[in-house]
Amino acid sequence: MDVKRKVVIVITISLFMVNFTIPIILALKRVSPYANTKVEKYKFPDPPWFAEAEVKAKALPGYGYACVFTTPMARASTAYAEVEFNAYPVPGNSPVLNCFFHITGSTTIHVKGTVGSQGTLAARLNVRFQIYDYRQGKWVPDPYKYGLKRLGEGVYNKTYKISKSFDYSNNHSDVDKYTITSFAEASIQRIGGATCEAVVDFYTGEYPERVVFVCSIELRY
């Protein structure tokens, strides 16, 4: 085998290894802890008919906790409470991933509590993740990239691991990077009496590992 051919083969093998290793390195670096939350409460209509929405939330690096409680009492009303983990994502302070063709969003959420409905009342607990894109200098939720579990009436003490891969190959040149955020939402609609009370823990990693990382954004490879 001549020298030129050997050089070509060596370079090819090297590039092949680099091609597979860079995504692995980036994926390993993907997760960083954060501890910022945003709590929202809504009551409809305004003024609400005795609707109540209570939220307690705490976020520590690698672990988040939310207690959501809603009770519309009388007349037609909706009480809605939401906790967003990794709220206000900030470049440099959030787990981000730069420009790849396919990404996977995933989050692990533990739900413990009661979602109770009465008659025509509809109490509901949603747990979900949302991909945010960094476009033109700010983070915006991508309306097409999310995954959620909608829980109806029942008593819960379960862990839900939700994930989905998304395509970014189709002309997403205006997106610089991506991050992910998790939500716990409790809502009650129609005429009141139902309750929704749940404690929701957020973390990733295999439950119940003691070392956990909140929210991940991964490459699909």
């Binding site: 050089v7 692995i24 390993l28 509901r124 309306p143 097409y144 959620l148 395509d167 002309n171 823990d201």
Partner: protein, 217 residues
Amino acid sequence: MFNRASLLVIAIILIILVACIFAASSTHSTEESVLPVNVTPTEVVEIVGPYTEVEIVKGFNTTRSNHVSFRSKEALIILRVKQVYNDTETYILYLTCISYKEYKDLLKQGIRWPLETEITIEDSLVEAIRENNVKVLKEVVRNIKEKFEEFKAYVKYTGEPVYLFKLEPGEEIEIPIVLEAPLGKVTKKYLFGVILITPYETDGYSVFGAGGLYIGP
């Protein structure tokens, strides 16, 4: 086959790459946190959405990203869906639409389209499929169609904005979706979304964004 120098180059590159991996993974060591002591192991439910991809086939001009405008009265896109989870799953696909102005107004109030605005439609679709209730299905299809102002959208196989399908592990399918604008254009900007629901889960159901387009004049 290779001389010693070539093997040495490959070995050095391998060592550098392995070192990089270890360097990257070692950053986790300072990121530990401990769960509360009262957390006990429970059942883990794994919900894995399918991999999805939207491809524009014809009838659209693409400006930037997934921003498009009608080039003719009829456009065609394909939704590719691949079942990545090792289990058979049934999906409801439905199409939805909102004007960009309404989308931005909702966002200012902290309400995200479509996942916080389409709950009634998703509830009804799940109920209709689970209970095989044609009356509810017809009603919800009518409600979905009302969301489309200047153009209509439907799955080519059914002629409706709703489609039910089942995927085996590893199976990949292509679903053609037709968008028709009688004027060959729209007068304002819209967000068009493709959404998947898994109706047969034990606790409630799951919803996944599968893709979408920003359709402008």
